[in-house]
């Protein structure tokens, strides 16, 4: 006779109890821990790699290291410069060649020592040696010295106006560290900084943990983006690599993460309308660029590049790449509205005109040579943009060969001008225009016409910020004459945040000081 549920034997009952007990022990534990107000869990799109932000320009790394490292200056919400470890903006004299930097006093490092001008000089020397952003100004360096414990003097051989902006970047960054560390052999092993948090533990592909630095001395002033007062309001911020965007969104929905970085349109849609989480976009949109080979091959002919620009329907590409309209903006100006560098005059932007493109192509003498466009599915928006561009160009009479590889392969192939004609990439907003990669003549694409060269030279040696603006507008005009690259538009980087989180700053590099987590 079959046993009814009420008649389970004692051994079965014991086993059921044990299983239930085990489940009880396992299940609620993870959720209870995620609800504490002292640890902020940030899901990132990957592991940041070595935690030294000087030699690399990765945005993810900056998002993390800016919690424990600080620079002399920092960017304001309008890309203006404000002091951070410096006491004030520098005195610039001698026609833009001499910078005298006064430091804040009594700033402690995480190791208990106090920051002095010697530490700053050693840190900046390291930056000039290792950073892709530091090497250029350091080529013009005449001397750098500590005038007294709270004053640093930099003397250049010739004026180089981007210097102040470059000193404010949190990537490729001149973070200030004790002299004993800055002068130690590379790679960096001690991550002592001055930030509101200090590094607790880095376990690759598992987490980066930073903990509150109780002795932190904050800059003064109301908090406004990266500027002003900074305070650690949680005991710990934990960055957790989670490469799959769906998993990041799900972790946020389940309450395991408080913040999910870099969502795709599909994962972003999942968190819309949910009671405990809020979708959002970073304040600075990512530029989507179609970079052409100006040095070799068919695309080195400016008429072919203009034909490509005429053919591309930027709005179609952006809609395909980012989805709903609030997530992208078709803007020909290189810099967005609201910044000093904005210039609405962008002739030739977003034409989507195959007939005009075909005419230009005929004038160029193009004979149907295949155009190799490099793209990667690793970045979904880049691949979708490339697909629309392929259709646009094919319609205009181009013969397109879409080369789909992983991102590491593109990074290598694009260094060789014989191996490609164009590639699609994203470019994070850089507050200093001369730091835009395509304006660097050594960057793949190799845009270096005499007119552009002269304009860039004038722009980087002009020390008056007001005079620099019209010079930048001339550079943007030259960008639309030479067409080294087609700016497709700007797409916003999507994130999701728990509604328990307040006070974070969703800037170019999301910042989690001043961030509170309610219980």
């Amino acid at each position: 006779m079959p046993r009814s549920k009420q008649n389970w034997s004692p051994s079965v009952q014991r086993r059921a109890l044990m299983l239930g007990g085990a489940a009880g022990l396992l299940m609620p534990n993870w959720r209870a821990r995620a609800q504490t107000a002292s640890v902020l869990n940030i899901a990132t799109s990957g592991d940041p790699g070595p935690l030294d932000p000087t030699p690399v320009t990765s945005d993810l790394l900056s998002e993390i290291t800016q919690l424990f490292y600080e620079t002399l200056y920092i960017f304001g919400p309008d890309y203006g410069i404000a002091p951070l470890l410096a006491a004030e903006l520098p005195e610039i004299s001698d026609g833009g060649k001499r910078y005298v930097i006064k430091l804040r006093s009594g700033v402690p490092f995480h190791d208990g020592s106090t920051m002095t001008a010697d530490d700053v000089v050693a840190s900046l020397q390291r930056w000039g040696r290792l950073s892709p952003r530091g090497r250029t100004p350091w080529a013009f360096l005449d001397s750098i010295s500590a005038k007294d414990p709270a004053t640093v003097e930099i003397v250049l051989k010739q004026p180089y106006s981007p210097l102040l902006n470059l000193l404010a970047f949190p990537n490729g960054s001149p973070q200030i560290m004790p002299k004993r560390i800055a002068t130690a052999p590379d790679p960096l092993k001690d991550f002592t900084g001055t930030g509101p948090f200090r590094l607790m533990e880095y376990k690759p592909d598992t987490w980066v943990r930073v903990g509150k630095f109780p002795q932190y001395v904050s800059p003064q002033g109301t908090a406004n983006g990266y500027v002003g007062r900074r305070e650690a309001l949680v005991d710990e911020v934990r960055f957790l690599p989670s490469p799959n965007p769906t998993t990041r969104a799900d972790g946020l929905l389940a309450g395991q993460y408080h913040w999910a970085d870099n969502l795709t349109p599909e994962s972003y849609a999942r968190i819309h309308g949910k009671p405990d989480v809020a979708p959002g976009v970073l304040t600075a949109a990512l530029w989507v660029l179609f970079i052409m080979n100006n040095k070799k091959g068919v695309m080195s002919n400016v008429l072919v590049r203009r034909a490509a620009q005429a053919a591309i329907a930027c709005t179609d590409a952006l809609a395909a790449a980012f989805g709903e309209k609030s997530l992208w903006t078709p803007e020909g100006s290189i810099y967005p509205q609201g910044t000093a560098w904005y210039d609405a005059d962008a002739p030739g932007y977003n034409q989507g005109n195959p007939d005009k493109a075909a005419t230009l192509l005929k004038q160029s003498g193009y004979k149907g040579e295949p155009i190799r466009i490099l793209t990667s599915t690793q970045y979904d928006y880049q691949y979708k943009t490339a697909q629309v561009i392929e259709a646009n160009l094919t319609e205009a009479g181009f013969k397109i060969e879409l080369v789909v590889t992983d991102w590491a392969t593109i990074l290598q192939r694009r260094q060789n001008p014989d191996q490609w004609d164009a590639f699609v990439t994203g470019h994070g907003v850089v507050p200093e225009p001369s730091s835009i990669t395509v304006f660097n003549p050594s960057y793949p694409g190799w845009w270096d016409t005499p007119d552009k060269h002269a304009l860039l030279e004038a722009f980087v040696t002009e020390s008056d910020p007001v005079e620099r603006v019209p010079l930048w507008h001339k550079l943007q005009a030259q960008f639309y004459i030479d067409v080294p690259t087609v700016k497709i538009g700007a797409g916003f980087t999507m994130y999701g945040a728990s509604k328990r989180m307040t006070g974070f700053y969703p800037g170019i590099w999301p910042a989690f000081w001043n961030t509170r987590l309610s219980a």
Binding site: T57, T246, L411
Partner: protein
């Protein structure tokens, strides 16, 4: 047996040398450059060359190959380019997680696969058999990442029963960490249980037609005794082969599963290393995984002799 083992171990050395060579060539033939990946998208050729020189990547391929073989002979796998630690240390940190995941998934696959396979064989041709066979086909066809995402949606997001991803906070205990492995083990185990089920069914069907099984039945033995004591005992050697292959295959499956569940195991390490072109890690991890694969095969061959007295080496 001892001579056989020694012969097999000597063969392993040759196999591992070939594997090391193939792994080195594959890692270096694929395009991509760790220096370019590390520096980020803004890097110029000059920046990349400077970092390559600092990392020692500018040496010629033959020189790097000889250095690699020398370090392998000394049982050293080199230093990771990205992880600020040796490859051995990186593997040692991650191996326990992958091992736990593999054991859990293999146990799950076996516990599901064998009983259902036996039942299906015993009920051959019946509705039960057809339903189980169809379910097995479906299970084998479902990709583990899809199973994983579906489990996350229902068990973690909707019901909050299990955590979505990761391996628990720094101070998590054994039981809590186990809760992070349940969904990945199911996602990894289900497609493999279907394989074991199908194989068990086929082996059992062969054995159930043997004369001695008919004799056992004729003697009036209980059906359970006939099935498990007489039939399954003879079918288990072939089932063991497929379990061994499954365990080896699970190591490959862990690559996808660990990525979906953000588990910092060996699979995740391999994916990250390939994307970053961290050559020493790619080479070291593939070498160790191949070694484990070869050892599992050797272990199965030895187990044959233990389980089946007729097998002698």
């Amino acid at each position: 047996m001892t001579r056989y083992l020694l012969r097999r171990l000597a063969g392993m050395v040759v196999v591992m040398f070939l594997v090391a060579t193939i792994v080195f060539v594959i890692a270096h033939v694929i395009p991509g450059d760790p220096a370019a990946v590390m520096l980020g998208p803004s890097a110029t050729a000059a920046d990349i060359d400077a970092l390559r020189a600092r990392l020692g990547l500018d040496a010629s391929m033959p020189v790097q190959y000889v250095q690699f073989l020398e370090s392998v002979i000394r049982l050293r796998l080199g230093e990771s380019i990205f992880l600020s630690r040796s490859v051995t240390q990186a593997l040692a940190e991650r191996a326990p997680l992958t091992l736990q995941l593999t054991v859990l998934a293999a146990a799950l696959a076996t516990l599901i696969g064998i009983p259902i396979g036996v039942l299906s064989a015993v009920k051959r041709g019946s509705m039960v058999d057809q339903v189980l066979t169809a379910a097995a086909m479906a299970g084998a066809s479902l990709p583990s990442f899809w199973i994983g995402l579906t489990l996350i949606e229902y068990l973690a997001v909707r019901l909050h029963l299990l955590p979505v991803a990761g391996y628990g906070p720094p101070d998590a205990g054994v039981l809590e960490r186990l809760s992070y492995l349940i969904m990945p083990a199911i996602a990894l185990g289900i497609p493999n249980s279907a394989l074991i089920m199908r194989f068990t069914r086929t082996s059992m069907l062969d054995v159930l037609q043997e004369d001695y099984v008919r004799t056992a039945r004729a003697k009036g033995l209980a059906p359970a005794t006939v099935i498990f004591k007489h039939a399954f005992r003879n079918a288990r050697t072939s089932v063991l082969t497929v379990i061994g292959l499954t365990v080896a295959g699970l190591l490959g499956g862990a690559i996808v599963t660990e990525t979906v569940f953000a588990l910092p195991g060996v699979g995740n390490l391999v994916v990250s290393a390939v994307l970053r072109r961290d050559y020493p890690v790619i080479q070291g991890a593939l070498l160790v995984i191949s070694g484990v694969y070869v050892l599992i095969n050797l272990g199965i061959d030895v187990l044959y002799a233990v389980l089946d007295p007729r097998v002698r080496y």
